[in-house]
C-alpha cells in the first residue's frame, strides 16, 4: 500500500473535480437547515418563522460564495468538506435560535449569524489567498509565538464562569485559545516534519524506549508544561487536553514510535491526576462526573450535568422534535457547552448519531487528504486539523453525556461562540486547501496517465 494507490483514479485525461456534487450537497445542507428553522417555528408558535426566507437566503448566499471560492481557487478540493461545515453551522443556528425563544433577554442567534458570516469570509480569504499550504511551514515559529501570546493574554482578564479563557474588550469577547489551536497545529506539523528523523532515530535507548536528544525533546516538554500551565492558570481543562492529545497523535504519526504514546499517556495521567486532585474547579468537575446526581441527593436539585443527562434521556430514540424539548433547564451554558443536549433531546439518538457521523466524515476527509498528500508537513497538518475536530467533539460530547469529566469546550460549528465558529471555518478552509493539493493531478500524471513514482521513504 502506498500513498497514491488509494487516491489514484483510473488513468484518464480529466480527473473528476466533483464541484457539481458539492453544489448539490450544499443545496441539501441549506434546505435541511431551513426545514429545521421552519420546524422550530411550527412547533413553538404554530407558524413558520417570518424570516425563514431571509435565513435561508442568507445561509444559501454564504454557501454559494464559499462554493464559488472553492470552485475557482481549489477546484480539486474534497466535495464533502464544505457541505458538512455548512450543514453543521446551519443546524447550530437552528438550535441556538430555538433556545433563544425561551430566553427573551438573551438573543444569541443573530450574533452567531454575524460570526458565521465572518467565518465564511475568512474561509474565502484563506482559500483565495493561500495558494499552497506549504507556505505556512515557513511561519512555524511565528505561529507558536503568537499561540503562546494568545493563550497567556486571558490570564490578565477576569474569569468568566470559573475559567479565564476570555478576552473582553468593550462588549466583545473572544477566546484566543481557539485560534491558538490552528497555530499550534501548524507549529507541530512544521517542527515534526523537520525533526521527525531526529526524534525517531537519535538519542539514548533505555530498555525498549528510544529517547531523543534533549535538543529535540526540549520544545516538546515545554509544550507539555505549557498545556498543564494553561489548565492551572486558566482553569481550562478542555484546551489543555486538546493540545496534549493533538501533540501525541501528531508525534506518533510523525515518528511511528509507540513508546511516545505510552510516555504521553503517562504524562497526561500524572498531569490530570495532580490537577484533578488539587485544582478546586477541576476537582468539582471530576466529582460531578463520578456522581452526577449527588446534588439531587443533597437536596440542591440537579446540577448542569444531571440536567444534561435528563435532556438526552428525554430524547430517546427519535427525539421530541425540534422546539419541543426542555433542554433550557440546563441553564446558562445551554447554548454553548451544552448545545449537544438540545440536539440529543429534540433529534434523539437518531439525530445525534447523524451529527456524530457528520463530524466523523469531516475528520475522515481530513485524514484522507493526509494520506494522499506527499509532503510530510501537509500530511501532519491535515492529520492535526482533523484530530483537533475529532478530539474536540469527543471531549465535549463525552463531557456533556457523562463519559468523561466535563470540560468547557465548544461543539465545532454547533455551539454558540464567535471565536469557535470563526476558527472552525479556518480549519475547514485549510482542509479544503490541503485536499485540493492532495487530489490535484500531479505534473506528468495528466499527460501520461501514469502514477508518479514514490520518492519518499515509506515505512
Amino acid at each position: 500500500m502506498t500513498a497514491t494507490t488509494a487516491d489514484a483514479p483510473p488513468p484518464e485525461l480529466r480527473l473528476p473535480k466533483r464541484r457539481g456534487v458539492e453544489l448539490s450537497l450544499l443545496v441539501g445542507a441549506v434546505l435541511i437547515s431551513v426545514f429545521g428553522y421552519a420546524a422550530v417555528g411550527l412547533a413553538r408558535n404554530g407558524a413558520v418563522p417570518p424570516d425563514v426566507a431571509g435565513y435561508g437566503a442568507g445561509l444559501g448566499l454564504l454557501a454559494l460564495l464559499a462554493h464559488l471560492a472553492v470552485r475557482l481557487r481549489a477546484p480539486y478540493a474534497d466535495p464533502l468538506v464544505l457541505p458538512i461545515a455548512v450543514l453543521l453551522n446551519g443546524l447550530g443556528l437552528v438550535l441556538i435560535y430555538r433556545l433563544d425563544l425561551e430566553t427573551p433577554r438573551d438573543q444569541a442567534a443573530p450574533t452567531q449569524l454575524i460570526w458565521s458570516t465572518l467565518g465564511v469570509a475568512l474561509f474565502i480569504a484563506v482559500v483565495v489567498l493561500l495558494r499552497d499550504h506549504r507556505v505556512l511551514q515557513r511561519y512555524a515559529y511565528l505561529s507558536v509565538a503568537t499561540a503562546l501570546v494568545l493563550m497567556i493574554v486571558p490570564i490578565f482578564f477576569p474569569a468568566v464562569n470559573g475559567a479565564k479563557i476570555w478576552i473582553r474588550i468593550g462588549g466583545l469577547s473572544f477566546q484566543p485559545g481557539e485560534f491558538a489551536k490552528i497555530l499550534l497545529a501548524v507549529f507541530f506539523a512544521a517542527y515534526l516534519a523537520a525533526n521527525r528523523n531526529a526524534l525517531a532515530y537519535t538519542g539514548r535507548r533505555i530498555w525498549k524506549l528510544q529517547l531523543p536528544t534533549g535538543r529535540v525533546l526540549g520544545p516538546i516538554v515545554a509544550i507539555w508544561l505549557l498545556s498543564v500551565g494553561v489548565l492551572v492558570l486558566e482553569r481550562d481543562l478542555g484546551t489543555s487536553l486538546l493540545f496534549f492529545g493533538l501533540f501525541v497523535i501528531m508525534l506518533y504519526v510523525a515518528t511511528g514510535r509507540t513508546g511516545w504514546i505510552a510516555v504521553g499517556l503517562l504524562l497526561a495521567a500524572v498531569g490530570a491526576f495532580v490537577v484533578g486532585s488539587f485544582e478546586p474547579h477541576v476537582h468539582s468537575r471530576v466529582q460531578d462526573w463520578l456522581d452526577p446526581f449527588a446534588s439531587i441527593d443533597a437536596g440542591q436539585g440537579p446540577n448542569q450535568l444531571a440536567q444534561s443527562l435528563f435532556a438526552f434521556a428525554a430524547g430517546g430514540m427519535l427525539g421530541t422534535g425540534l422546539g419541543l424539548g426542555h433542554s433550557i433547564l440546563i441553564g446558562f451554558a445551554a447554548k454553548s457547552d451544552f448545545i449537544l443536549a438540545t440536539a440529543g433531546e429534540e433529534l434523539g439518538l437518531t439525530g445525534l448519531t447523524a451529527v456524530f457521523l457528520l463530524y466523523a466524515l469531516l475528520v475522515a476527509r481530513g485524514y484522507r487528504a493526509g494520506l494522499a498528500l506527499r509532503d510530510p508537513f501537509g500530511r501532519l497538518l491535515s492529520i492535526g486539523l482533523a484530530s483537533i475536530l475529532a478530539l474536540q467533539v469527543f471531549v465535549i460530547a463525552g463531557g456533556v453525556m457523562g463519559l468523561i469529566p466535563l470540560t468547557g469546550m465548544a461543539m465545532p460549528f454547533l455551539a454558540q461562540g464567535g471565536s469557535s465558529v470563526v476558527t472552525n471555518w479556518i480549519i475547514v478552509a485549510l482542509l479544503i486547501r490541503v485536499s485540493d493539493l492532495a487530489r490535484r493531478p500531479r505534473p506528468g500524471q495528466v499527460e501520461t496517465g501514469v502514477i508518479a513514482p514514490i520518492l519518499e521513504d515509506e515505512r
Binding site: 500500500m1 440537579p302 435528563f310 494520506l371 482533523a386 463519559l403
Partner: protein, 485 residues
C-alpha cells in the same frame, strides 16, 4: 507514515464508537430511569403546557385554563370558586390536585389512555391528547340553594338523587377560592399558608371528608335495624322502655329531652326523638345485628369513592351494651359524614335500595365524545322494602307533626329527621345541628332528592341550636330547588 496515519484514524474511530455507545447508554438503556428521576422537571412542564380539560356543572364549565407564559404555562381558573370548591378541589402547580381535579386528573390533563384514538397512539406520536371534560351530576340551582342556606356558617350539605345515587349538591362552608392556589410564586404560597392557618379550616371538605356525631338522625338507622331484625314488628305498639333509661350494666341514666317517651312506640320515638326507646332498641338488636345494619348503609366502609375518597363513617365494632346503647342514638364513637347521612335518607326514600353515590355523570374527550358514562348501580339493599315504607311514614310524621316542621313544603311529601349532636369533653362543645330529609313531588313516582345538612355554628346561642331550628330550613330550600328542577 501511512501506517501510523491509519492507526491514528482507527483511534479517532474508536473515539466515535465510544461516543455512540455512550449515547445509546444514556438515551436508550438508562432513559427510563433518568426520565423517572423526581428531580427531572419535564413531566411537570409537559403536564402544564396545554390547557386542562374542564369540570362541568350542567352544560357550563366551572373551571378554565389561562396561559401565563411561564414555564408551567397553563394555570387553573375557577368560575364561582368557593361555591364549587368542595366538588372540584384545586389544581395547583405548587400543591398538586384534590377531589375531582385529582380523581379525574388523567382525563383532565389528557394523559388517560382512553382519550387516545388508538392503543399506544400517544407512545408512538409522543403527543398528548387535549384534556377531556368531566361532567358532574351537580345541579347548579341546588348547589346554590345549599350554599346560600348555610350563608357562611360552618357546615355542610350533601344532596343525592335517591333513585340513581347522583349527587346533586355538595357544599362545605366556609369555603375558599381554589384559583388562589393555581400557579406558582409568593401569592400562592401566601394563600396556602393563610388558608391552612385559618381556624375555620376553609379547605376542609366537610361534606365528604369530615365526620360528625350524627346524633338523633342516626335513629333512622337504628329503627331500620330494629324493624329488619323484627325486634319491632308494629311501629305503633308500645315498647317496654322506661324514661329515663338506665344504661345496661351501669347505674348511668339516659334522659329524654322530649316528653312522653316512657313506653313510647317506635313511631312516637322517631316523631319526638326519644333517646331512651332507640337506645334500648339498639341493645335489643345487639351488636352483631347493628353492625350488619349500619354496614348496609355504608358505615365502616373506607373504600367509598365518588370518585374522590369519602371519609369512613364509624360505628364501633367492639362495644359493651351501654356503649352500644349510646351508639344507637348517634353518640359515643358513632360518627358520620354528611354524605353518609344523605345516603341514609336516600335509602329510606328509595324503598331500601341504596344507590352508589356518584359525582361524575360522564367524562368526554375534548370534542365532547363520551369516554366513560357512569351508570346508576346499587350499593346495598339497606333494608327490607316494607321497612322502608314504614320508615317513610314515620319520617313524614316527623315533618308534619314532630320536630321537623320547619322542613315542610306545601303539597309535597317530605320526610325528615332532626338531630342535635353533643360533642366535646363532657359534651361541652357547641352541639351540631343535623337534619336529614327527602322529598317526593305528588305527581312523581320517585323521590326527587335526599338531603343531609349539618351546621356547626360556634357563635349561636346553645339553646337555639337544634336540627329543626338551624338545619331544617336549609334542607327545605335545597328540596325546593330540587323539586323545581
Amino acid at each position: 507514515m501511512i501506517r501510523y496515519i491509519r492507526r491514528a484514524a482507527a483511534f479517532c474511530l474508536l473515539l466515535l464508537v465510544a461516543l455512540l455507545l455512550n449515547a445509546a447508554r444514556v438515551q436508550v438503556f438508562e432513559a427510563d430511569e433518568l426520565n423517572d428521576n423526581p428531580a427531572n422537571r419535564r413531566t411537570t412542564i409537559d403536564r402544564y403546557d396545554q390547557p386542562r380539560g374542564n369540570i362541568l356543572v350542567g352544560a357550563r364549565a366551572v373551571t378554565g385554563s389561562e396561559d401565563t407564559g411561564e414555564q408551567l404555562a397553563y394555570e387553573r381558573t375557577y368560575l364561582h370558586g368557593p361555591l364549587y370548591a368542595p366538588v372540584t378541589g384545586y389544581a395547583s402547580q405548587t400543591y398538586g390536585t384534590t377531589l375531582l381535579e385529582n380523581a379525574e386528573d388523567g382525563i383532565l390533563s389528557g394523559t388517560d389512555s382512553l382519550l387516545a384514538p388508538l392503543p399506544l397512539w400517544n407512545e408512538i406520536t409522543r403527543s398528548r391528547q387535549p384534556g377531556g371534560d368531566v361532567v358532574t351530576t351537580i345541579k347548579d340551582s341546588i348547589q346554590r340553594a345549599a350554599y346560600e342556606g348555610l350563608s357562611g356558617r360552618r357546615g355542610a350539605v350533601a344532596a343525592v338523587e335517591p333513585s340513581t345515587g347522583r349527587i346533586l349538591a355538595l357544599v362545605s362552608t366556609p369555603s375558599y377560592d381554589p384559583e388562589r392556589l393555581s400557579g406558582t410564586g409568593a401569592e400562592v404560597t401566601d394563600a396556602w399558608a393563610r388558608l391552612n392557618a385559618a381556624k375555620s379550616r376553609p379547605m376542609l371538605n366537610r361534606a365528604i371528608r369530615q365526620t360528625y356525631p350524627p346524633g338523633s338522625t342516626f335513629k333512622i338507622v337504628t329503627a331500620a335495624a330494629a324493624l329488619d331484625a323484627r325486634v319491632v314488628t308494629d311501629p305503633d305498639a308500645a315498647t317496654d322502655t322506661p324514661s329515663p333509661y338506665v344504661l345496661p350494666g351501669t347505674t348511668t341514666t339516659l334522659p329524654d329531652e322530649a316528653r312522653g317517651c316512657a313506653e313510647a312506640s317506635l313511631a312516637e320515638a322517631i316523631r319526638v326523638s326519644c333517646n331512651t326507646v332507640m337506645a334500648h332498641l339498639g341493645v335489643e338488636v345487639g351488636l352483631d345485628g347493628m353492625l350488619e345494619a349500619v354496614g348496609r348503609f355504608g358505615f365502616n366502609d373506607d373504600g367509598l369513592r365518588i370518585p374522590s375518597g369519602v371519609a369512613k363513617s364509624n360505628f364501633d365494632t367492639d362495644m359493651s351494651d351501654d356503649q352500644l346503647a349510646l351508639s344507637s342514638i348517634g353518640q359515643f364513637d358513632t360518627t358520620a359524614t354528611p354524605l353518609q347521612m344523605a345516603m341514609v335518607a336516600s335509602a329510606v326514600a328509595n324503598g331500601g335500595d341504596l344507590r352508589y353515590p356518584h359525582l361524575v355523570d360522564r367524562t368526554t374527550t375534548h370534542d365532547g365524545d363520551t369516554v366513560r358514562q357512569q351508570g346508576s348501580r346499587s350499593y346495598h339493599q339497606a333494608m327490607n322494602p316494607s321497612t322502608a315504607v314504614q320508615l317513610q311514614r314515620m319520617m313524614v310524621d316527623v315533618v308534619e307533626n314532630g320536630t321537623g316542621s320547619n322542613a315542610a313544603i306545601d303539597g309535597v311529601r317530605v320526610g325528615g329527621k332532626t338531630g342535635t349532636a353533643q360533642h366535646g369533653i363532657d359534651n361541652s362543645g357547641t352541639p351540631y345541628a343535623w337534619f336529614i330529609s327527602w322529598a317526593q313531588a305528588p305527581d312523581s313516582g320517585r323521590p326527587a332528592v335526599a338531603v343531609a345538612v349539618v351546621v356547626e355554628d360556634a357563635s349561636a346561642d346553645r339553646a337555639d341550636i337544634s336540627g329543626g331550628g338551624s338545619a331544617a330550613p336549609i334542607a327545605r330550600a335545597v328540596m325546593e330547588a330540587a323539586l323545581d328542577g
